[in-house]
Amino acid sequence: MKFTKMKALVFATATSTTALFSTAAHAVEIEYWQYFFGARVTAMEQLIENFEAVNPDITVTMTHFPYADYRTKVAAAIPAGEGPDVVQLFYGWLNDYKAASLIQPLPADSFDADTIDAEFFPMVSAMREGENYWALPTAVRSLALFYNTRLFDDAGIDGPPETLDEMLEIGAQLTKRDGAGNITQAGLTMGMTAQDHHWFREGLVRQFGGEPYLNDYTTVNYNTPEGVSAMEFYVGLGEENGIGAVGFMDEPQAAFKAGRAGMHIDGSFRIGSLNKTRGLKWAVTELPATGEGMRSNYSSYWVNAITTKAEDEKYDAAVKFMQYVTSDEAMQIWLDVVGELPAKPSVGLTEANSNDATYGPFIRGLAYANTTKFVNESAQRKVLIDAVERVKLQGMSVADSLAIAAAAEQELLDAFYTSK
């Protein structure tokens, strides 16, 4: 009795497995890899679902890893013929991936380089080489000034600062100190460890009349009088003007979340976590302009690319999938779910999006944003962290400290470009 039941079960399993395989034979299955970030995974699941509905013969399997293991896994899997057909990578890694032949260029017939240049925000052109694009983003990020509306109201300030001078003024009104002179509430959060190094590079240096890099980001150029005044302004925020302090509340975003800071410069990816913070009332505005109204911003992005593993029908499927994830529809989904900004003006600059109270300032910021071509972002960030620390902790002059920083960063760039 028991035996027959068992036999039936085995047969049932066998037949259903065959059924599964027979459908799979007509279909193409491609693999997509990204690193794990809750909202990104949800958004991608939605995109895959929509894509599969239109392309019933293609199945997309998504795999995600903790950020820390990502590169190692990709590097190990693709040469072994395993792993993803379409992969997500940070724009700064493109050169490494190209050099290691992990990815292949997008086909020019479906991804015409000139059309892309015309349709996407200009910073995406960093992914172009000759007549081919190597990778494309679904979404981009930029910086903006978050401010705590409750603290603004309490201090009787009508609105966010438009210019850097206004920012100093408002910052001073919001800064509170205890009897010993320690800051207990900061006007503006500070910290090169967070987003401030981007603000300095692509924002302040340009606003003070400088050009942070030359020759397509291969030459450091912020060690100039303009660069020095930009750095003096930044360091001054913590000293003479005293509207903030590096290390206050441990991390800039922590100070802002705790309602202990009036203003905070951060990326669009912070929106999600601020929305989850109970009792915090905040709003966003564009990064402050100079007195002449000049603005400058930084943007970065993650791109998707087709790996060298994808061949024949998998390659065709991967191209179709790439077309879908860089479509207007995908970008709108990504904005709604992840909060990252569309990479095309046609989606980003729609009436609804660019006037959105939260996303608007970021999207408007894209129009005047630059993308630093980092060769090693954490090492280059460290250079600027140290530049500020030398001034603050060792009393070095800003000019000397910035000169050391520029030399150190140039060394990093040289080491990278000579080894290519």
């Binding site: 490494d96 050099a99 290691a100 320690n182 967070a194 590096v246 509340m249 441990d250 080894s419």
Partner: protein, 258 residues
């Protein structure tokens, strides 16, 4: 060992680099700073932790009051995850208005002290929880060592009228030598490999302001997994291995049985 003579960024092919990685290491001021930091951790950490743990073990051995409870208290830090502990201490060290220590200072009107954001205070500030966390283990070992000394020696000493200090230096410490050798080697290796505390307490800028707290292990980790310079990381690992080997052999030689 082989990788330390190669250039490899995890993605591309490995290419032969010869002594290049070692040359780079020799000429890099950060490496020497890190090298120095590593030894400061060792030279401060090992004696301090041994003296404190021996002191506690020696006195605890004589207490009978609530022995089990006290044992739980001093062993608890050792069982706690180093990461969780590092973050709690990180909070203790914060400036006003959140840091525990600085808030206490501010209560008395004393100006706040920069613990972690200082080139001089940061390393001791990180060492303190590392020493504290290791105490429980060392105390247990010391107590076992002390218990293993036959009571008859102490009885003989008491009959001869030897003072307490003399008993400590003539009987307890010499007979504890195997225990001390074990603990010195064990904790030295521990301090030379310090990582969790440093990485977590200074995670914004790993290695502290101007690399003032960066130990060799963290530098290796960064070379390998943020700079993706595997050859250079391997070269530093070879150096770390040689240091560990030399320090251990040297200590065994110094503390050997004559």
């Amino acid at each position: 060992m082989v990788i330390s003579f190669q250039d490899w960024n995890l993605l591309g092919d490995r290419t032969w680099a010869g002594w290049k990685n070692y040359e780079k290491l020799w000429n890099n001021p950060v490496f020497w700073q890190v090298f120095r930091n590593t030894f400061v951790y060792l030279i401060l950490g090992t004696p301090i932790s041994l003296v404190i743990s021996f002191f506690i073990a020696y006195h605890l051995d004589k207490t009978r009051f609530m022995h089990g409870f006290i044992r739980m208290l001093y062993f608890l830090p050792f069982m706690t995850s180093a990461v969780a502990m590092a973050w709690v201490w990180r909070w203790f060290y914060q400036p006003v208005p959140i840091g525990l220590f600085n808030n206490a200072l501010a209560q008395f009107g004393i100006p706040q002290i920069e613990f972690l954001r200082s080139t001089t205070n940061a390393l001791p500030a990180i060492l303190a929880p590392a020493v504290w966390a290791g105490l429980g283990f060392q105390i247990i070992i010391f107590m076992a060592g002390i218990r293993a000394i036959p009571q008859s020696y102490y009885e003989a000493a008491r009959i001869d009228g030897v003072s307490k200090t003399a008993t400590l230096f003539e009987i307890t410490l010499p007979l504890l030598k195997p225990t001390i050798v074990f603990l010195v080697v064990f904790s030295s290796i521990g301090f030379l490999r310090i990582f969790d505390q440093v990485f977590n307490m200074t995670s914004g800028d790993p290695g502290g302001p101007l690399n003032s707290t960066k130990p060799l292990v963290l530098q290796i980790y960064q070379s390998a997994f943020t700079d993706f310079d595997m050859g250079y990381a391997a070269a530093q690992t070879v150096v770390l291995f040689l240091i560990l080997l030399c320090v251990s052999l040297f200590q065994l030689y110094l503390l050997r049985d004559r």
